[in-house]
């Protein structure tokens, strides 16, 4: 389903952008209404991917917002995942019938901005009823800001890659503290492996666990002009270095590639003892492990730099909405990303992190009992978001995931895989554009 729907998305995006090329689109940069207040009753439609337990958590935050804004009703529309939200959103934009506001990944926004479909939030943020961007983590804000200076997206649901480990297994192997360098990481994993057990269970549902290692090796896939960075893909570059670390671990039996979230199953039943994921893994792991062993949580080991990858969704407002809806949507964004909204979101969602640095001080008791969020929050300010260029999503989901998998399955060498990935990245950048 994922591959098909992504192909559909690419097709619809082409239709949308061809409309712009033909002069059919409104390419001016829309700004939200100057109206500072919502005067009458207004309903805004909010498309998001908060399924399952997150849907209930979001419902609570929305309810709190509606209590404080009696004139605004939020129509919450939940879509299963990225692979389905993207084609749904694209169809709606092409059909001139988008929601008022939607969760989205920054790479999708480029096409929407080009067609004038997305609102630049700066005028509202800077207005008298706006809000200060100072408390927001700059690295997260940056991914929602485009080269024209417009803040088109605001970060909403964030996670950062961290390491979960089995404390009992570490103790039995004589490892007293979690690894802090790649060298320690591979040595510890080797000590923890054997007898059919591979210590590091690799999750490849998304690229962010691997991207954390790529960033630690000093990697950056995108140049300032939005084109693929050849140095990142070179045979001596960071991508090959990170891939080589993982493939060596698979080859010597200290790591194993799992399908879907099989890594969580391996970790919970004790066949692996190291897992890399976001803090949103925590509720699933706590339930699955059920006190069979204590779960340790630590920042990822570092290499050239001590960083990690951030992963999550942003909020964008569509220009097709009425002025009143746009103002109401901005009020909603303001609330969702406010200190109170983010505190409620973090505590109720049991996994996502606040996007601003003033929340942790008010959540001391929560963080004391939720070490995954605590560790994730400690690394979030230095975490790196995925690039926002238009070609990134297809490259990340189709090319990079396949190439990493090919290397781990010994079908390709790291250098050959990255050489091929570079050619495909160039081709995608040519086809889809950059910013």
């Amino acid at each position: 389903m994922s591959t098909t729907t992504r192909m559909v998305s690419a097709g619809i995006m082409a239709v949308m952008l061809s409309g712009v090329a033909a002069g059919c689109g409104n390419t001016s940069t829309p700004t939200p209404s100057a109206s500072p207040k919502v005067t009458g009753p207004v309903t805004i439609t909010f498309w998001n991917e908060m399924t399952g337990p997150y849907e209930a958590a979001l419902d609570k935050v929305i309810h709190q917002f509606e209590l404080q804004h009696k004139n605004i009703t939020v129509d919450d529309v939940v879509v299963p995942n990225d692979a389905t939200l993207e084609p749904k959103l694209l169809s709606a934009v092409v059909g001139q019938d988008p929601p008022t506001i939607s969760q989205m990944n920054p790479p999708w926004a480029t096409g929407f901005i080009e067609t004038g479909s997305l609102v630049n939030m700066n005028p509202f943020i800077n207005s008298s009823s706006g809000f200060s961007l100072a408390p927001y983590y700059p690295n997260l804000l940056k991914a929602g800001r485009w080269p024209d200076g417009g803040q088109y997206l605001m970060p909403f649901n964030m996670g950062a890659a961290i390491m979960y480990y089995n404390k009992n297994a570490f103790q039995q192997a004589g490892i007293t503290s979690p690894p802090t360098t790649w060298n320690e990481f591979s040595k510890d994993a080797a000590k923890l492996s054997g007898n059919g057990r591979q210590a590091f269970a690799i999750t490849l549902v998304h690229t962010y666990p691997w991207l954390a290692f790529f960033y630690q090796a000093g990697g950056n896939f995108v140049l300032k002009n939005g084109q693929p960075n050849p140095a990142a893909f070179s045979a001596t570059g960071p991508a090959v270095k990170a891939l080589t670390l993982w493939s060596n671990m698979v080859n010597n039996g200290s790591a194993v590639l799992t399908q879907g979230y099989g890594s969580q199953t391996d970790f919970a039943n004790g066949t692996s003892s190291i897992l890399i994921g976001t803090s949103a893994f925590d509720p699933y792991l706590v339930q699955a492990v059920a006190n069979k062993f204590p779960i340790g949580i630590a920042p990822l080991p570092g290499d050239v730099t001590q960083t990690t990858s951030a992963f999550g969704g942003y909020l964008g407002i569509f220009s097709k909405a009425t002025a009143s809806q746009q103002t109401a949507a901005m009020e909603f964004v303001k609330y969702l990303t406010s200190k109170a909204g983010q505190l409620s979101w973090m505590e109720n969602s049991q996994g996502y992190l606040p996007v601003r640095d003033d929340v942790a001080s008010s959540a001391a008791s929560f963080l004391a009992t939720h070490p995954a969020q605590k560790v994730s929050l400690s690394v979030l300010p230095n975490a790196i978001m995925s690039p926002k260029v238009a070609w990134w999503d297809e490259f990340s989901h189709q090319v990079l995931l396949n190439d990493i998998e090919a290397v781990l399955l010994k079908k390709e060498t790291p250098a050959a895989a990255m050489s091929s990935a570079y050619q495909q990245a160039k081709s995608l950048a040519q086809k889809d554009g950059t910013y």
Binding site: V8, G11, T84, K88, V94, A280, V289
Partner: protein
């Protein structure tokens, strides 16, 4: 005395039965298992009978609404597709014009156009008609089906042409001939077409997802996807309970219509 050959046959059938039923048992046993035991390796064959998973799954989504939506959309789509296909096939076979061959070719050509390539134009039409977020948007685009017309044309061509001549001599109109002569003789083909269209409708995912915005009108496939999919992990016990809730009505339906389903699948060469 039981012959050894018969014992071998029964032993083989029992093995096939166990292999076939095991995944269903696994889903069911996981659905009544505690989370930690569900992750255990090797897994336990006998569950812990934790029925609260069903309550959790039931409370997380309006499953009955999703099921009723799917059944309703499937039945209406099937009825309409059957009606349009019968009329189209009748016209092509019994009321030929010089354009019949071209029209039939065009109908066949619609089978070769990937659905994904017409999503945007279909979406624009549905939007302009004001059908977004309605049952109509999920039924009407599938109320005519090229494959169904093709199937019925082939079966109608198999009926003796003398029947038509005899009916005319007896003064039966086209409607009467279709209703009283053709349809009773086309029951197997109609059953095949019905099951094909119903399965197509039942399994539809992307289109309903794009044109609907909430559980009020969404079918079970979209509801289940919303439930299954999280960006961070899977709660296998509750997921299995949801899978069981949504599978049981289909299994009951299948038990009643088993013969027709098997025959239609073998006749058309299609699988659900």
């Amino acid at each position: 005395m039981v012959r050894p050959g018969k014992i071998m046959v029964y032993a083989f059938l029992i093995i096939v039965l166990v292999v076939t039923l095991f995944p269903i048992w696994w889903i069911f046993s996981t659905s009544v298992e505690t989370a930690s035991r569900a992750y255990a390796f090797p897994g336990a064959l006998w569950p812990n009978w934790t029925w609260s998973n069903y309550r959790t799954a039931w409370e997380l989504a309006p499953w009955m609404r999703f099921l009723l939506n799917s059944v309703g959309i499937g039945l209406v789509t099937t009825a309409l597709a059957l009606l349009t296909s019968l009329l189209a096939a009748y016209g092509l076979v019994y009321l030929p014009t010089r354009f019949s061959a071209i029209i039939f070719t065009v109908i066949l050509a619609t089978m070769m156009v990937p659905f994904y390539s017409i999503i945007v134009p279909d979406y624009l039409i549905v939007r302009d008609l004001g059908w977004l977020n309605t049952y109509t948007a999920q039924v009407v685009p599938f109320a005519a089906n090229g494959f169904a017309v093709f199937m019925l044309v082939q079966f109608m061509r198999g009926l003796p042409i003398e029947l038509r001549d005899a009916a005319r001599i007896d003064g039966i109109t086209d409607w009467g001939f279709l209703w009283r002569i053709v349809m009773p003789n086309l029951k197997p083909a109609m059953a095949t077409v019905s099951i094909y269209v119903f399965l197509l409708s039942w399994n539809a995912f992307l289109w309903p997802l794009i044109v609907t915005n909430g559980p009020t009108v969404q079918p079970i496939q979209v509801g289940l996807a919303n439930f299954l999919s999280t960006a961070n992990g899977t709660d296998w016990t509750v997921l299995s309970a949801a899978a069981a809730i949504t599978t049981i009505p289909v299994l009951i339906l299948y038990a009643f219509a088993q013969r027709q389903v098997v025959e239609s699948v073998s006749r058309s060469g299609i699988k659900g």
